[in-house]
Assembly symmetry: C2
Homo-oligomer: 630 residues x 2
Amino acid sequence: MHRSIATVSLSGTLRQKLEAVSAAGFDGIELFEADFVNFKGSAPELRRIASDLGLSIDLYQPFRDFEGMPEAQFRRSLERAERKFDLMEAMGAPLMLCCSNTSPLSVNDPALAAAQLHELAERAARRNLRVGFEALAWGRHTSLYGQAWNIVKQADHPQLGLILDSFHTLSLKDDATGIAAIPGDKIFFLQMADAPLLSMDVLQWARHHRSFPGQGDFDVIGFFEQVLRAGYTGPLSLEIFNDLFRETPNRRTAVDAMRSLLYLESEAKRRLASSADAPALKPQIELFSPPPVPALSGLSFIEFAADEASAGTLGALLEQLGFRRVGRHRSKAVALYRQGGVNLIVNAQPDSFARSRFEAHGTSVCALGVRCADPLAAVERATAMRSQRHDSPLGPNELRVPAIVAPGGNLIHFVPEALGTNGLYEADFILEEDAAADVRGAGLAQVDHVALGLALDQLDTWVLFTRAVLGLEPGESLELADPFGLIRSRGVANADRSVRLVLNVSLSQRTRTARTLSLTGGGAVHHIALRCDDIFESVERLRAGGTRFVPISDNYYDDLATRIDLDPALLARLRAAGVLFDRSPAGDYLHIYTENIEGGLFFELAQRTAGYDAYGALNAPARMASQAQQ
Amino acid sequence: MHRSIATVSLSGTLRQKLEAVSAAGFDGIELFEADFVNFKGSAPELRRIASDLGLSIDLYQPFRDFEGMPEAQFRRSLERAERKFDLMEAMGAPLMLCCSNTSPLSVNDPALAAAQLHELAERAARRNLRVGFEALAWGRHTSLYGQAWNIVKQADHPQLGLILDSFHTLSLKDDATGIAAIPGDKIFFLQMADAPLLSMDVLQWARHHRSFPGQGDFDVIGFFEQVLRAGYTGPLSLEIFNDLFRETPNRRTAVDAMRSLLYLESEAKRRLASSADAPALKPQIELFSPPPVPALSGLSFIEFAADEASAGTLGALLEQLGFRRVGRHRSKAVALYRQGGVNLIVNAQPDSFARSRFEAHGTSVCALGVRCADPLAAVERATAMRSQRHDSPLGPNELRVPAIVAPGGNLIHFVPEALGTNGLYEADFILEEDAAADVRGAGLAQVDHVALGLALDQLDTWVLFTRAVLGLEPGESLELADPFGLIRSRGVANADRSVRLVLNVSLSQRTRTARTLSLTGGGAVHHIALRCDDIFESVERLRAGGTRFVPISDNYYDDLATRIDLDPALLARLRAAGVLFDRSPAGDYLHIYTENIEGGLFFELAQRTAGYDAYGALNAPARMASQAQQ
């Protein structure tokens, strides 16, 4: 497909936007009028800049408040249109977006609207330009694509067609299936936008909170599927009004934008191919088709970046937590710690990737290893989805584990499932003789989830990255009160829940999460939750070994008893152990947090019953308040 | 009145909140339950801390989802209430807030609700506690105070009364005048909240965007007036859910909170006293009554903080702008520049207030002088409204001009109107002989407005400060697109428009405004707009003298012609001169910006016809885009 993006979707000057969009591999742009009005250069100059960057100017937008107007206003608007056509000719933009009228002067008369749009198209035709009519969700008389299509049909001019924007349809919960019946060649342009589900005025929602496909809650794939069923072969574009994108460095936004289109195309292709009527579908335009999302089956390891000194401190802390050092690297300053099925690597090798992360962020997690059936295909998909592959220098006989760079710079390694417990480490590490034996330690059996602290403008980036590259689906977005501001928290997980990440962003600069971020540059692992089968036993053992946990107020337990109908013996146990509790209809979650170990990082112990599918987020305020009171 | 505030309104741990509230002079608190649940201490300990700080615990809140429930839930809720009553007894909180039920299990049966609330009140009575029932705007069956009052009447228990919250009434545009008919002693508690007018889900609005009275758009004074007419004599309290207040340092929030109550009381008192039925009103509780808002009549001077070197640079720039140095201070390194009615003071005196500002913020505006009839009364009002008075050390025979500290630390001097052009300066300055003669310069005649760049969390603080202390009323709140993020802009002005300030905040960290702020610590003057009668002449003269203006794109003028029906000759003149244009139904605004002079500060030249009452904000994006392209 021809991939395009509206200039309003990115930050920067118009020239900077074009450069970023070109670098991300787009074919064209929609020119947002305000960007041109304030551009230091003429229309032919813009054409040349775009052309030098390999970009076409696909659309000039928006042209407002045109159709269904009294005669005097209509005549004036035609004059206005002629001036815009002048510009379009000069910059080589073939299509104008005319959005449905919002003016109180407009009248509810589809025939008049059609006649006036016909005249506009006639004027455009004289210059070999085209006009696309789009229903704004807040249009005064035309707010649905079906209404707009009726007007376009009635206007009946070859240079007039329909423009579709998924936001307007999905925000109004309108049925998109009617789109498939529209002749594909009368759809002149397609704008795809996603958004979180918000209960607010649709205009404000549209102007401030859209997001790229895959970042929000809309069924954008279903919408796109209908457009493809119509036989549409035009550009696939993004028009995203988002307050954060206005300030995010535009190179990053442009990569997210491209990834979202690739994700959208590949998912729509998959859905179409598996539909019952697949053989009967009109011939489709070529859609992007990467290898499928990897089938992940758990976290294989977590790697910490350290130097010699902090490797010692961290190692001692891990041993206190019940881990045992079961191996050291053959040639590098790297140690392997193990407990149950949890492998933690402490990497203090000078001149390594880990060391560069340590130097930038202090002791911190620098890589995750995820198990999957076909690591090479996983990396292939990731690079197709515009992630960077990462190749570390290898020592003799060392195993190459393919890796990619996650947003923010940490690595994600894809570890072949076929390797057993020690298979990954046998090549590179000198293992203790009984390394393969189960290290019971404090009963911590596996990684439950890894929580990341992200800069505010990275949440959408991570939701899309984990979805498009790793196949993790986002859960509910929650807001949690820290004593110094709000935290937004969203879990992402694969289908069988063997890989869970929690994405946390601080809306305030003053929370502990924000301060940890500023310490570690954002995109950092904030805490690691380890699963156990008997949290009381694990806590007791760890306390005996000197581990300190974040103390929980007695008032919490008094309140818990009024909220949840709990067995008094269990309540007493929770209170005595300082363990937090959450209950969903399907199951329970018991958890506790260690005090900080290094650079703001801490651990969580978690025990969950099978049906419970969340992270005890409602208890996070108890932790944050306790931490603030220390 | 007994003044109180809900703990949810401030950031920090519970203890820190209490300390801030006490320091700001409050009498009591509403305890927000979550603050207690996560508090490291028992109810008696909390009581002691509050008591040591001179604070009563006036209200325990909220108690949710109680009334109108099926029997089983009702019985469980009574148990829950008994546990809360235990806490209330232990902490000495006499009143519980029970908010209207939002549960899908609740039934629409006012008689049942009344009976169940009666039982709750009976339980409370056994412990000598009371219960207040409040209608939440999003309550399932009870959302209006009138409905809540009917249930309270029907329940008919002396320990059960009504709690009013202005947010719930005003957000639903309910009529508040019915409140006056409710017996004052059945209103157990009053929560006052303001809010900006937003088109969004009322629950989200209520949870994230409330503000202190005087900071928003609600008629909070009218609401309060009705409560006073009812004969209410209980506490006056603030329950403000606001995302920014959750992160703002709580000492500052607490001062704003107290100022908002004092403002509310004084305005309500004024309104009641001037009402037709004033003599017939029930006896009122004592309301705060400061001196009236000062009658301001223009900006007398603007003072810059500098050092020796920058004073020279700045002086040269001012002279280039048509100012003349007409005087120097008798004993200090201070110079006076003048053009038309504009007086600019450049203060480079070591060890002065100005120097301390220079050291913190570089060359920047450190004080404004406003003319008023009675400076001493103005200062008296300001200090009554919790602003700090500032007294500078005086040299022999120097004139004392009373001053106060504005939020952020700059000074506002109140200059006696009675002093003529040079009256203020004759005592302190050695003036040129013809200093009294009009300095025509480039035709800049007076200060049109002063634009401040504020940190995001200071906008509400400034709106309240300028309203309560200076009597300036806020205008519309606008959002403007900078290439690197959004700017929110709001003008405040006195009634005759002789004093106008524009408050700008950057919602992004990456705009020029934000970068200027981080340079100057926030709360800084961002630019100064000077009025002229013939902007084309002034621009021509200044250009000839070497002043450079922010260049405006030719495309801007092409677009202007399509937006506004302009005389082609005027359009050509605007284009040639690079002057921006805005039109309101009542008048025109022509303006242009100089390039930066020092530390991000710049000047605007403005020509306005009388009816135009804004600041050309819609042209700000043209300036910001141009600045970004340089």
